[in-house]
């Protein structure tokens, strides 16, 4: 009986959390499209997410492209398929590794910062203060972050795609002695627009999820420093898991053969 009760209780808690997240998302989305918007806040968030994440996303993409070329060489050379390396690098980067790794890095950097900032504002009553100054916290805090996440992460992924492919090129040409022109030819040859577009759609959804998780956990944090710490952890963990799950779902939609 105790086991059943515990299962039921856990299920109810899960339903409650799901419902609360759905309500939060609905409310936040409605404030994204209803004026007034706060252009200064949107711009500030865009700079935070887009510009200041460039180094970490760029470095991640560079080394991923490089290691991809190196690994595929060591594997493909066993059956004389070295010629496919450039294609493998560009498809892996644009379809999967660019958006997923950029998403995970941004989740760590931005999702955590959002949860910590909004969480601190919650526990120090700054969110209540916003309301008393006739400013809707959803509009002022949440909507700009969602808009910035949705628009900036795809741009970051464009940069990550280019740098990642360039990383593969560097290793291919300077370490594995490929001809530069034929490596570039090979890169272009089998690349279709859908490969890049699917990656950018993923990036937009990941950006939205990262901002949503950061805002949601920050907004509902309580209990002082410990609560803000927990909110930060939850924001990063939940955003990372959602990125991986949604990555599978979107890949299924774009590239399902059946």
């Amino acid at each position: 009986m105790g086991f059943l009760a515990a299962t039921g209780r856990a299920f109810l808690i899960f339903l409650e959390a799901t419902g609360r997240l759905a309500l939060f998302t609905g409310s936040a989305l409605s404030h994204c499209v209803r004026p007034p918007l706060y252009p200064r806040q949107i711009l500030r968030q865009m700079i935070d997410i887009g510009y200041y994440s460039l180094p970490v996303v760029g470095l991640t993409a560079l080394f991923t492209g490089m290691v991809l070329a190196l690994q595929s060489y060591s594997g493909f050379s066993r059956f004389q398929a070295e010629g496919a390396i450039a294609t493998v690098v560009v498809l892996s980067i644009t379809r999967e590794l660019g958006p997923v790794l950029a998403g995970l890095m941004v989740a760590g950097r931005i999702g955590a910062a959002m949860a910590a900032e909004i969480g601190t504002m919650r526990v120090t009553e700054q969110i209540d203060a916003l309301s008393t100054l006739s400013t809707n916290p959803y509009k002022y805090l949440v909507a700009p972050r969602l808009i910035a996440g949705l628009t900036m992460v795809p741009l970051l992924v464009v940069v990550a795609d280019i740098i990642g492919v360039f990383g593969g090129f560097l290793v291919g040409v300077y370490r594995l002695d490929f001809n530069a022109a034929s490596y570039i030819n090979r890169t272009w040859e089998f690349l279709h627009p859908i490969d890049v577009i699917s990656g950018l759609v993923k990036a937009a959804i990941f950006g939205f999820l990262i901002a949503l998780m950061g805002c949601y956990h920050g907004y509902h944090s309580k209990g002082g420093a410990q609560g803000v710490g927990a909110a930060t952890t939850n924001a990063v963990v939940s955003a990372s898991i959602m990125i991986l799950v949604w990555n599978y779902l979107i890949t299924g939609i774009f590239f399902s053969t059946k």
């Binding site: 706060y38 900032e117 504002m121 120090t124 009553e125 700054q126 209540d128 203060a129 916003l130 309301s131 008393t132 100054l133 006739s134 400013t135 809707n136 002022y140």
Partner: protein, 272 residues
């Protein structure tokens, strides 16, 4: 008790006999704990009411319920005679133009410089041009005894007393009709506490505003109040004129005013 929603019209001036704020049978519980247990309270136009009571008696929850930051479980809260408990968010934002609030921990926005904190309601709420809002912010900072050079500092660079002053300047910046003060002197030394008390009295008088202060600092209550109400276990157990506080004839009020451990109020040592 369900109360039908009412539209808020800021233009209509209610008759002087209508209380500025009226609470009737307001209840609120969190989990199993009943925090507000049927609050009945009226605040007259231009009056300064101080609500005293120990920690955890429901003072802050009452203020937050009036502001709509918390939704009461039942009861009625009227502002200028209009029901506010079931307002839609847009009407609520309009209603909140009437309010200013000084938070216990100042609650300044640490991402903005001091002047933008003070001018926040003017810029975001009333869409005033930034340059003009800054002028007003600096004037309001002057009214609470701060020099213009403070305006460019970040809130984190200020002492606790200065933060309270900035928060007070922010609360009065868009000249609200009603101002709430949540524990305005907590955490300040006695001299700074008195400075803040005097500023509150002055600001409220200058604006002709209705003020509600919650505090457990009796020196503050005596200085600010026209009328005092005492809250205990989520109910208002006594209200009276500030000068009658020492002769209230209420054992609970007497114990609180004189800060005695012995009396009808038993301290809750264990959390519920």
């Amino acid at each position: 008790m369900t109360v039908p929603p009412a539209a808020v019209s800021s233009n209509a001036v209610p008759p002087a006999t209508v209380p500025k704020i009226a609470l009737k049978g307001v209840t609120k519980h969190f989990g199993h704990k009943k925090v507000l247990n049927g609050i009945d309270l009226e605040v007259g136009r231009g009056e300064s009411l101080v609500v005293i009571g120990g920690s955890g008696t429901g003072k802050s929850v009452m203020l937050k319920s009036i502001l709509g930051l918390l939704t009461p479980d039942s009861g009625s809260i009227k502002v200028d005679g209009e029901e506010t408990t079931r307002l839609r968010s847009r009407d609520r934002e309009k209603l909140l133009h009437k309010f200013g609030m000084l938070f216990q921990g100042a609650a300044l926005f640490d991402s903005l410089p001091v002047w933008e904190n003070v001018a926040f309601g003017l810029i975001q709420g009333e869409h005033m041009p930034r340059a003009k809002a800054k002028e007003i912010a600096i004037a309001k900072l002057g009214a609470v005894g701060l020099t213009p050079d403070v305006a460019e500092l970040s809130p984190a660079e200020l002492s606790g007393g200065m933060q309270k002053r900035v928060a007070l300047a922010r609360a009065i910046a868009d000249e609200p009709e009603i101002i709430f003060f949540d524990e305005p002197t907590t955490g300040l030394d006695p001299i700074m506490a008195d400075v803040i008390n005097e500023l509150i009295v002055q600001c409220v008088k200058d604006l002709g505003a209705t003020a509600v202060t919650i505090t457990h600092d009796m020196a503050s209550a005596r200085k600010i109040a026209d009328r005092i109400a005492m809250i205990y276990q989520g109910r208002i157990i006594w209200t009276g004129h500030a000068r009658d506080i020492d002769n209230s004839g209420n054992a609970y009020v007497d114990q609180f005013v004189h800060g005695r451990a012995d009396g009808p109020i038993k301290m809750q040592i264990k959390a519920l």
